[in-house]
């Protein structure tokens, strides 16, 4: 029930999507850290009612997420990779590894 944001072990800068080298310091030691919540910065609605939002986690990492449930700009919402998460509101950030992880858990 979280999102895997990457943190640089050298300079502590955080990134999403994951990078190969830290753009801030050039370091190659990057590890995932789990973020539980984010702040909705803005959103828009596509055909079919899909609500897409920019969600900030921590001070400066911005995710593109699908909102489920009402979450106006400025509100704090749970962020998750889990497509089976049913909390509302929540911000879902797709991740290709997630289904495999849940199978192993």
């Amino acid at each position: 029930m979280s999102v895997d944001v990457q943190v640089c072990r050298t300079c502590s800068t955080r990134w999403f999507p994951h990078r190969l080298l830290c753009p801030s310091c050039g370091g190659s030691s990057l590890a995932p850290t789990h973020e539980e919540v984010g702040v909705v910065e803005e959103s828009t609605t596509l055909a079919g009612g899909v609500v897409v939002a920019t969600v900030r986690v921590g001070p400066d990492v911005r995710l593109v997420a699908r909102l489920h449930g009402a979450a106006p700009p400025g509100s704090t919402v749970p962020v998750t990779h889990d497509p089976a998460d049913e909390r509302r509101p929540r911000a879902h950030v797709p991740h290709p590894d997630y289904r495999e992880k849940t199978t192993h858990e």
């Binding site: 803005e42 899909v50 400066d60 593109v64 997420a65």
Partner: protein, 381 residues
């Protein structure tokens, strides 16, 4: 120091929303090449350099196209930068003709962009898109630029009507361009009442995908001799200026505009005809600002009094918003248009201009584009 390269021909394979079954990507690319060479008064046997960008040519590559056109080359490149491909290939081509690696280079970009090709392209645009955006589900970048436009409106105070005036002005130019796919009159009221795509974006804020291709011919001043030509005074490019971390309100040109104008020996107020990459009106605004064309003027007033009034001709083909976006030809479209304007070959939409500027922008990595470039051109008899 300005470059010693010039453009001596430009061509566009006619854009269409509904391509015929035989209109393959290779066919529209070759058609654009033939038209550009005819415009330059050259034959394919005169060509010794080729630069190509296409999303849909696969499994073929640039050398396949060269082979199938019978080109024997000393210089070959394949660009991958979509809406920024024209400027990025031109930057390389200028150095190639200056160094003598090639003497006559054709740069071409285009795609057969039907509904299936477009859906495939946007779903697999890059790894980040395929893994984190397409499954949202999101089919293309409309939502990303809807949010970017919201941020720009909040930062600048621009309102829907300000963007509408840009779109309407481009449609008015398109009415004078027989190659534009949308030429019917569009009013500000039509714009404001258009079906919503992704708030605040409506139908007329989003480029229509089309099939087509664009090409230019690059050579050296020495090779061009006294032929009609357009000098390349400067070309600059930047890639990934902010790691997708910022608000995406700038195009990347803001960090190289001074270099562009210094190299050209000119300033933004010298520009007399402009083509900026117009995937969305907000990016037209961003590039006009970043190139220094707005300067200290109030932004909404600049858009109304300079652009919509045609005091500064911007996107005189109608831009992609009215002429269409032929896949990777998006950036080349503006280069062709300004070349035509400066060579006096723009037909009913011809403007009086000696200095033109063209910008490209593209390759959305996750939240907005990552590639930007700009070129200053000068008419020469």
């Amino acid at each position: 120091m300005t470059t010693s390269a010039c453009l001596i021909g430009a061509g566009e394979s006619p854009y269409t929303r509904h391509p015929e079954p035989g209109a393959t990507t290779s066919h529209v690319l070759v058609d654009a090449v033939r038209r550009a060479l005819a415009d330059a008064g050259l034959r394919s046997t005169d060509v010794d350099g080729l630069g190509l960008c296409s999303f849909t040519l696969g499994p073929d590559h640039a050398v396949d196209l060269a082979w199938r056109m019978g080109l024997r080359l000393s210089w070959l490149m394949q660009g991958t930068n979509g809406g920024a491909s024209a400027g990025s290939m031109l930057q390389h081509a200028v150095r190639a003709v200056e160094s003598g690696d090639a003497s006559v280079i054709v740069l071409v970009a285009g795609d057969r962009m039907d509904a299936v090709a477009f859906a495939d392209l946007v779903a697999q645009y890059n790894r980040a898109t395929a893994e984190h955006l397409t499954p949202l589900p999101m089919a293309g970048p409309n939502a990303l630029f809807a949010m970017q436009t919201q941020r720009q409106m909040a930062a600048t105070g621009l309102e829907a009507a300000d963007y509408g005036r840009l779109v309407v002005a481009q449609r008015q130019w398109a009415a004078l361009n027989p190659g534009a796919v949308y030429r019917n009159a569009l009013t500000l009221e039509d714009y404001l009442n258009a079906p919503v795509v992704a708030p605040p974006l409506g139908r007329y804020d989003c480029v229509p995908p089309v099939t087509g291709a664009d090409a230019v011919v690059v050579t050296s001043e020495d090779r061009a001799g006294s032929a009609p030509r357009v000098r390349v005074r400067a070309v600059v490019a930047r890639y990934n200026v902010d790691d997708q971390s910022g608000p995406g309100l700038r195009s990347g040109l803001e960090v190289c505009a001074d270099e562009l104008w210094d190299t050209a020996g000119l300033g933004p107020d010298d520009a007399q005809v402009v083509s900026v990459y117009d995937d969305y009106p907000s990016m037209v605004v961003a590039q006009l600002v970043d190139l220094g064309l707005v300067g200290d003027r109030p932004l909404a007033g600049f858009l109304r009094d300079r652009v919509a009034s045609r005091e500064l001709p911007v996107n005189t083909s109608g831009g992609q918003l009215s002429a269409g976006q032929a896949g990777s030809a998006g950036g080349m479209h503006g280069l062709v248009e300004v070349t035509r304007q400066l060579m006096g070959r723009a037909g009913e939409r011809q403007v009086e201009a000696r200095i033109g500027v063209v910008s490209g922008y593209g390759m959305v990595l996750y939240r907005f584009g990552s590639c930007a470039n700009a070129t200053v051109l000068e008419a020469a008899a």
